[in-house]
Amino acid sequence: MPEITYIEAIRQGLFEVMRAHPDVVLYGEDVGAFGGAFKATLGLQKEFGKERVFDTPICESAMLGVAIGMATQGLRPIVELQFADFITTALHQLLNNAGTLHYRTGVPVPMVIRAPCGGGFSGGPFHSEELEAIFCHMPGIKVVYPAFPCDARNLLHTAVMDNSPVVFLENKYLYRHIKEAIPAKHDPLPFGKARICRNGRDATVITYGAMVNETLHAARDLIDDTGYDITVVDLRSLKPYDKDTIMAAVASTNRVLIVHEAWHTCGFGAEIAAHIAENAFHLLDAPVRRLTAPDCPVPFAPVLEERYRPNSAKIVSALVDLIEY
C-alpha cells in the first residue's frame, strides 16, 4: 500500500467520487486548471472537463447558494473554499437556506463544502480560523473533520453521498505533514464513528483535526517519561458525534481531557463536556478539562501563535494535571 499525504488522499477521494458519480460537480476559486490554492483539485478539470470542475468569481455567498440550487435539482456539488475563514461571508446561505430546506420542504440538499482550516504556520487571524463550532450549532448541517489520510478519503465518499449539507473540514497543517498507507479501494465509513487511536488506562483525550496528531505525540512522550497511559479518541465526525465511544472511554479511564485548536468559549469541547457531565457524571474521578485556544483572534507572530495554539507539550502538562488531580 502506498503512503500518501492527507491532501493527496483528499485529491484521490475527489477523483474517485467524480469517476463513480457523474452527478458530482466541483467548483470554487482557482480550483480548475490551477488546481486550487493547496492543489487539492489538481488534474480534476483535465479529467472531468469545465462542465464539472470550474473556477468561480470571488463570491462565497453565491457559491453556496448556487450549490443549494444544484443540489435540489439532481446534482451533488462540492464547493471548495480557498480558506475556511472566508465562509463567514456565506453563513447566511448555509444556516438559513441549506440548513432549513429539507426540514421545511422535504427536498434533500446533497452538497459538500470543503473548508481548509487551522493554524500553525503564521497565517494570521484570517487564514487560520477553526470555525467548527459555528457549523455544529446549525440545525440541518453535518460536520466532519478527519485527521488522517484514510479517514479523509473515506469520509469524503460518505459526505458526497449523504443527502444533507455537509461541511467537510480539512486541516492545512495536516495537508503535507501527515502520511498514511492507503488501500486500493476506499472503505465505507459512516458519520458519527470515532476512531480510537490508542487505548490507555489513565485518562482519555477526546479530540479531532490537527490536535489528534499532537495528542498522539503527547501520549508517547507521557508513557516514556511518566508511565501514564492515555486513551486517544479522534472524533472524526463532529455532528453527529460518537456518543457510545465517548461513554466507553470515560468508563474505562474516568478522566477526560478535551483538546481542540478552536476558541474556548462555546467551542465544540463545551458540547462534549456537557454531554459527559449530563450522562457520565458518576464515572468521573476528576472534572472534565478542556485544552483549547484562548478567546482571542489567531495571532500572526510565531511566538504569539506558539503561545496561542495547543500543542503536544501543553497537552502533556494538562494530562499530568488531570491524572494527578
Partner: protein, 344 residues
Amino acid sequence: MTDATSITPSHRALNASDAACTPVNGDKDRYVGMLRTMLRSRFTDERLNRLYKQGHITGGVYSSIGQEAIGAATTAAGQPQDLYAPLIRNMAVHVGRGETVLDVFRQWLGRGGSPTRGRDGNIHYGTFSHGVYAMISHLGAMLPVVVGGVMARRRLGVDAVGFAYIGDGGSSTGDFHEAINFAAVFSVPVIFIIENNKYAYSTPIAGQFRCERLIDRAPGYGLEGFSADGNDALALYRLVHPLAADIRAKPRPIMIECDTMRMRGHGEHDDFTYVPPKLLERYRARDPIAVASNHLKAEGVLTAAEIESLTQACQAEVDLAYRTAMNEPPPNPDTLLDGVYANA
C-alpha cells in the same frame, strides 16, 4: 473647485495623454513626492521578497510591484483628514500616507513594535493617525467600513473624502455592491478605486465579470465612473486630484477603474505561469516608475541626476529600515491576551 471639463464621464476613457499636457505649476513637490512614494514602495517590496526567500518572513509575501502609481497618485490627491482603506497591492498607499517604511518592515517581520504589535502580519495593518484602515483578508469587507468612517467624520464637521481600493476579483463580492449602493444612497464622498490588474490569483478577469469595463457598473449605482491608466501616476493624479476636491465640496461617491497589471505571482510562492508572458511584457514596458520618471524629465520637473539621487536616497532609507527592524524583538508572548477588548 474643479471645472467640469476635467471630469471624464463614464462613457469616455481617460487617456494618459489627455491629462499629461496639464502644466506642473506649483505642484512640483507633489510630483516629486509621487515618485518618491513609488520608489520607497518598490524597494520595500523588493526587500520583502528577499527576506521571504531567506526565511525571515513567515506566512507569505504579496507584492504591489507594478501597481505603485495608483497608491502614489491617490495619496497625493488626498488631504490629511481623508480616510484610506488599502488592500493587498497598496504598499504605495501606506508609504504615501506617511506610514514609515520601518513600520512596514516591523509589520511583515511580526515585530513587537509593529503597528499591530505582531498580532497581525503583512498587508493587514494601517494606522488611524494616518487615516489608514487595517484591512482584513475578506475581500470587499473594507468598502462599507470606509463609507461609515467618512460619514462619521463628516458628521463631526471634518470634510473628509474616502479612498477605498479593491481588485478586479474583489469586485465580485457582495460587500462591493452593498457598500457602493449605500454610499450612493447617502451621497458619501468615497472614491472606489478598482485596480484591474487582470488576475485574481490564477483567475483572469473573464472568469470574474462580463462587463467590458468594471466602471460600466457605475451608472447602475447612479455614480460617475472613470477609466484611468493605472501605471501613469501623473495622469492619474491629474484626474483624481480635482475629482477629490469636487466630491469634497459636493459629496457623492465615484468609481475609478485603473488599468494595471499584477507583475508578480499572487504571492511570492506562486510562479504565475498561468499569466501569458506577452501580457507581462506589455506592462513591463509601462513600468510606473519609468513612466513617471520620463514625464518628470520631459516636463522639466527633475533632471536625470536628481532622479538618480532620489532613487539612492529611497534605497538607503529602505535598507536602513529593514536592518533596524531585523534587530528588533518579537512580541512578548505574555501579551497574547492584551487588547482583545477595549478598556471599559
